[in-house]
Symmetry: C2
Subunit: 534 residues, 2 copies
């Protein structure tokens, strides 16, 4: 077979050759922007010329601090197809993290959305390698800013040549993109995605039992494009010419509902809190969601109650997915198997609420504390380890963390999981959040999801509190729904749990709080909870 | 990203881990054999031990002369996953070709179906490298044969250990399988498929707009497993746990119809003549084909009349596909794009009857006689050239043919095609079958398909006859349907063509014949036609 490299150029060129008439819709600052893959390709070529003019060489890191927009998609392709590295910056990072990441990656240029300028202005004096800032907005005029030097995205594109020959000698092992993962402890760790890795990840997304995207789909990634390639959706959708919808700056649930309805979105993806917000809006005002085939949900565990609410109120399935920055990110997706159609609805929910089956192309295992393989019985918990062609083999310039997490050719996820005899994985906890009580393990995630099924509970996080006899015992931090704020008590939660979880798993304490602190990617920040309440 | 090889082991292990309960159905000599991927995996392990006992080393070629059966699927996995090379022999080859191929590939062991023994017995004395024959039938007993030494497949499997650790150090560039393509001229040419190539081809097959196979499908490859990996279906279906149906020895259209109905086949694939046969049977006896989503049809051009007949009489679409032995084989598949739903039915047919859109991962072009790129206007014809990760970069131990066909990093297909502005390719002819009349090109395939739309025509092949003034002119060789044998005349054909093709494309002669000779893969043998009738 030919030694033909697996690169993003192949994806870009196919979108142009076959789907030049297919639409891209982007919620821009002054309204809705619409164009097609034909004009998109032309702008990607202009952008490539701009990047060259800015001195971007092969291997150079070019950062983006941006929402999900059509301009971000242009950068998704132009930077890697040129041979440079797209480095997406998480706009919810703390200042110190942002500074660390930009300097660690040695970003040369930063493309920034107009309304995010203050984030960079606040840190600009500490950036060591950045030579310029390109401001993205819907006019050619530059807003006032203390950044320097600054360039106008639209002006430069307007002045650039619409012709560009993307190099065909890029190695598939060259880095296409980077993303830093922000653990709640320690410095952020960088993951470098190769062209090969993203290409293969897209193939996996395309397969019918994973995302199963097709030309007939209209795809809206709600998951941010600054996080783990937006789960591969922008690249994958372009490859097969699906219409794409970009929700733009600061999308709230109402905006998302409106876009789903107006643009007839068929597949969308995001974290559970997004769907909770959409459900809330939908319950007040019924939108027409008849185009939607599935809501893909990952990032943290989907509460069963949320899944049921979507089935019952919207008639649309939530598909549970699992992955992480280090895995490009799709590792599993949960669809029931055909013979499970004969099962009861409750039995099917027990499968659907799990994170699902490993994607074609990857391998997973669970291992015990001494590294031994554990059986797939759906009960025994172990650390989930993953390997495959789109799994990080190391952290970028971080040999210490690489040695900790990528041992023996496997990525150690720090997630505690079970695998059942059908092959479905269920994430029980992060290793550090697991509650170790009297030699037994208690999954904080299971407890949280059970508590969140209580109608009076908005959110719940469970952490380990130290215990003399049992080492650790669970403590539940519960945010009541507004209308239950006065009435909900500890006994209500414990009575609700009675019969649903084993006696020895019952929380020793239930604490009612205003809000659960979140990390920059929207997950429960248990480190902060522990600091605050223990 | 990890340096994780793309090998067939990954496919095999996933089938076992996730789909051990899913069914495989095989039409065996004494009835229907049923098992599941769990027991299949066990037998593949036994088979791997058998292969080791037979002295099969890494890189050794192991041949199969077999129908589409579950045993053939076991060989599809055991041989490559062990590190050896699966060489599928075309059971319709002429003796000299069979001898040439086995000797050229240096096959060490041949696995042969019971009823195909005579084919090997006839050539056994000329086989230089074969050390043994394994006979496949549904009993452990060996039939009488002059082959030696012979082994019983079922007996050896019964006696072998059910445990086997497939090596995980195979390189993705190592050869997994081989298939020879038999041109109508010259010696057969061998194509070596790498693990990487087949793996990526499977990914492409999985994507929703190509075959789009899912766990919920029941897949029956009618296309022989001895030909170009049966279009990737056996591997792809195993990867995602689809139920597979194997039609066994000498399947006739009635058997196929019965299997489709009884096993609730959802996707099946084969050459046009198969579907013509099925249509004929179906018209006499209505089977329940309600499970079928699509018939995939390739190998030669699908006549529009066949496609329409399937739509009208069965209500099931034929999907047109294109590929060749050198391309693993899927290159294109024809589905209309979503916005074409607004087109008229006839406009949609004009798209569907084309070979379709290039698969994700591949690149195609059409070039002129001097190698120049030709425009995509749907009219200008040029040679189709292809490149990508599952396209042959050379012929096995055949530098001369490699130099002819794999020039400049592209596979030159010898097919003349157009590409339209939507990206759909239409194969017009083989370069050698194209009729060059007065400096203009006439597609023999177009003429054939137009003639075959005549209700009195069973089959038609068009060849070039020499002409003093115009160099070449078309001559049509027509096989009438039995009930039209007496009545159909040259005028009927010419009148039928009038208005459907340009005047200068009209055949100069229409010859009525009994039967069109076919090649070993069921295509019109125009070389023989020319020898016989010119």
């Amino acid at each position: 077979m030919m030694n033909y490299p697996l690169t993003l150029k192949s994806i870009l060129e196919r979108a142009k050759m076959l789907y030049s008439k297919k639409e891209l819709v982007s919620r821009d600052y002054s309204g809705t922007f619409r164009y097609d893959y034909g004009r998109f390709y032309e702008r990607v070529c202009r952008l490539a010329n701009v990047l060259e003019d800015l001195g971007v060489n092969r291997g150079a890191r070019v950062a983006t601090l941006a929402w999900n927009t059509h301009r971000h998609l242009e950068l998704y392709f132009a930077i890697p197809c040129l041979g440079a590295v797209l480095h997406t910056l998480n706009l919810r990072l703390f200042q110190d993290q942002l500074i660390y990441i930009i300097n660690h990656a040695e970003d040369t240029i930063i493309f920034v959305d107009r309304d995010l300028l203050p984030l960079l202005e606040a840190v600009k004096d500490k950036l060591k390698t950045v030579k310029g800032f390109v401001i993205m907005t819907d006019s050619q005029e530059l807003p006032d800013t203390s950044l320097s030097p600054v360039y106008s995205y639209e002006q430069m594109l307007a002045e650039a040549s619409p012709q560009y020959n993307f190099p065909s000698d890029l190695d598939e092992w060259s880095t296409a993109a980077m993303c830093y993962t922000t653990a709640t402890t320690g410095e952020p760790k960088g993951v470098a995605y190769t062209h090969r890795g993203i290409f293969l990840h897209c193939f996996s997304c395309l397969s019918a039992d994973m995302m199963g995207l097709s030309e007939r789909d209209t795809v809206m990634a709600v998951v941010p494009m600054f996080h783990a390639n937006a789960w591969g959706m922008p690249y994958t959708a372009a490859w097969i010419g699906a219409k794409q919808v970009f929700p733009g700056a600061r999308p709230d649930p109402k905006i998302l509902c409106q876009l789903i309805q107006d643009e007839k979105v068929t597949v969308t993806a995001g974290v559970p809190t997004i769907w909770m917000g959409i459900l809330e809006v939908f319950e007040k005002q019924a939108y027409d969601f008849s185009s939607v085939k599935s809501f893909i949900c990952g990032g943290s565990a989907v509460p069963l109650s949320l899944m049921k609410a979507f089935d019952e109120k919207l008639g649309i399935p939530i598909l549970h997915a699992y992955g992480m920055t280090e895995t490009t990110p799709l590792v599993t997706l949960s669809r029931t198997k055909s013979y499970m159609d004969q099962w009861t609805v409750e039995e099917q929910y027990r499968v659907r609420v799990k994170q699902g089956l490993v994607a074609p192309g990857l391998e997973i295992k669970i291992i015990g504390e001494n590294g031994e393989d554990l059986p797939h019985d759906g009960k025994i918990m172990g650390e989930l380890i993953v390997r495959g062609p789109w799994i990080a083999g190391e952290y970028y310039k971080n040999p210490q963390k690489s040695a900790e997490c990528m041992k023996g050719g496997w990525l150690h996820t720090n997630d505690i999981a079970t695998i059942d005899d059908e092959g479905y994985i269920a994430i029980c906890d992060r290793t550090k959040d697991l509650i170790k009580s009297g030699g037994e393990w208690i999954s904080s995630v299971d407890l949280e999801n059970t508590i969140m099924a209580h109608p009076g509970v908005a959110e719940a996080a469970v952490i380990a509190m130290p215990h003399e006899k049992w080492d650790e015992r669970p403590m539940a931090c519960v945010v009541p729904r507004p209308e239950f704020r006065e009435s909900l008590g500890e006994e209500d939660i414990l009575n609700f749990l009675d019969g649903k979880v084993a006696k020895w798993m019952m929380p020793d304490r239930v604490l009612f709080i205003e809000e659960i602190p979140k990390t920059s990617v929207g997950k429960f920040n248990k480190k902060e909870l522990r600091q605050k309440y223990l």
